[in-house]
């Protein structure tokens, strides 16, 4: 309840008019308002724009029954007008009337070919086009002498020029062949070599594993560690991202925590750090 009062107070400060509206639904319309809405809008609009709508009289009785007949009568009346119009435009067309003009005499197409050949001879047409073709007549021009195809291969071979001289490959070509083979082998070898190297980087070498097993079996870790040289250790640590010098200082500091110089000593003597490093063999110089 207090919330509602607070909201009302706040609303009062913002808009007293809105706050003054009683708790009544303002969105109410009279009963049947929407049923008469369209009609009342229509009446208001026509009155406002002074629109006069035509008043349709009632259709005479039997109007639609006789409608098609009336239309046909009107068309017929127009047809006579059309005939007159065609007559004035083209008397020839008007004379044709309704007769089918696309007719041929009986069995026209059966005799058409014969009539055409009678009228125009092929020979005379060919003569007009090519006198040479006419001179050939009906003689078969595609004949060959007897046994022509039996002899044709031999005739062609005999007509060919003399056989080309075959030149034998000299010795140096053989050497070239071996050189080419050597190059191929070399490339193959390099390919295999690089592949082997690639594999070695992804798999631990068997000899290393065997050595590790041996160390474990003999329990000789400390003994083996003692055989390592300084250079090897430095190289290994560097390769593994270790700052060797920093690691040595850190190790020495942790081992000799009690012997570390006091903070005051660094202020009193510049060489305190150098001395400490020298005493523990950590100075680079």
């Amino acid at each position: 309840m207090t919330d509602r009062k607070d909201i009302l107070n706040e609303l009062n400060t913002i808009s007293p008019v809105v706050a003054g509206i009683p708790f009544v639904n303002v969105f109410v319309v009279p009963q049947g308002y929407f049923n008469r809405l369209a009609e009342s809008i229509f009446i208001n609009t026509t009155e406002a724009e002074n629109i006069v709508y035509p008043v349709f009289e009632k259709v005479p009785q039997g109007y639609f029954e006789n409608l098609s007949g009336n239309i046909m009568d009107k068309i017929k009346a127009l047809e006579t007008c059309a005939k007159d119009e065609i007559h004035t435009l083209s008397p020839v067309l008007a004379n044709i009337g309704n007769a089918n003009i696309f007719t041929v005499p009986n069995s026209y197409f059966e005799h058409l070919a014969a009539e055409l050949t009678q009228k125009c001879s092929v020979v005379t047409e060919t003569e007009m086009i090519s006198a040479t073709v006419v001179s050939i007549g009906n003689k078969n021009q595609f004949t060959v002498p007897e046994g022509y195809f039996n002899k044709v291969t031999n005739n062609i071979i005999s007509a060919l020029p003399a056989a080309t001289k075959v030149v034998k490959m000299q010795g140096h070509f053989r050497i070239l062949r071996y050189a080419a083979a050597a190059v191929i082998v070399g490339l193959l070898g390099l390919l295999v070599f690089f592949n082997l190297n690639k594999n070695q980087t992804s798999v631990v070498d068997n000899s290393v594993i065997a050595n590790a097993k041996k160390i474990l079996k003999n329990n000789s870790f400390d003994a083996e560690l003692a055989t390592l040289g300084a250079d090897v250790i430095e190289k290994y640590l560097s390769n593994n991202g270790e700052d060797v010098q920093a690691a040595l200082v850190a190790n020495s500091a942790s081992e000799n925590a009690e012997n570390l110089p006091d903070a005051v000593d660094y202020f009193l003597d510049d060489k305190t750090l150098d001395e400490f490093l020298n005493n523990h063999n950590l100075n680079r110089n």
Partner: protein
């Protein structure tokens, strides 16, 4: 063609061992391989790796190690450490699948411990050298005094 093929095989037979031989020698004589063997022995002992676990663990470790080694040492130190940490996170799941979470955590400690052992060994060698040098100097100095 047959001759070329035969000669190719013959030459391949000669060349391949030539390529292979230096690699083997390198593996046998490379001192870093010895440290690698010590590392494997140390990790296997400390993590108590079984044969089956070792067979799964070392190939993954080699991949991990290659990535860590590929991080450039000359970049900003913080950036370098972050890159290595990211690699460790990337391999964490794979290591856990093989070792379990406890031993995976232990692996990083044991790894650091091995490096510490190497550093200690290096420090010892340097101290021995320095002491040797001092003794030598002492002897020389005492010699001149005596004379």
């Amino acid at each position: 063609m047959k001759k070329i093929l035969l000669s190719s095989i013959f030459l391949l037979g000669i060349i391949l061992p030539l390529f292979a031989q230096p690699g083997n020698d390198k593996q046998q004589n490379d001192p870093s391989q010895k440290i690698q063997a010590l590392y494997i022995a140390f990790i296997s002992r400390e993590l108590k790796l079984t044969e089956a676990e070792a067979q799964k663990f070392w190939p993954v470790h080699t991949e991990f190690d290659n990535e860590v080694r590929a991080v450039k040492p000359d970049i900003n130190e913080l950036e370098r450490q972050q890159t290595i940490l990211n690699i460790k996170k990337k391999y964490q799941e794979r290591f856990i699948k093989i070792l379990g979470s406890d031993r995976t955590n232990n692996f990083y400690k044991v790894d650091a411990e091995f490096r510490k052992k190497l550093v200690e060994r290096l420090q010892k060698i340097r101290q021995q050298r320095a002491n040797g040098g001092k003794l030598k100097n002492k002897k020389l100095n005492s010699g001149t005094d005596w004379e």
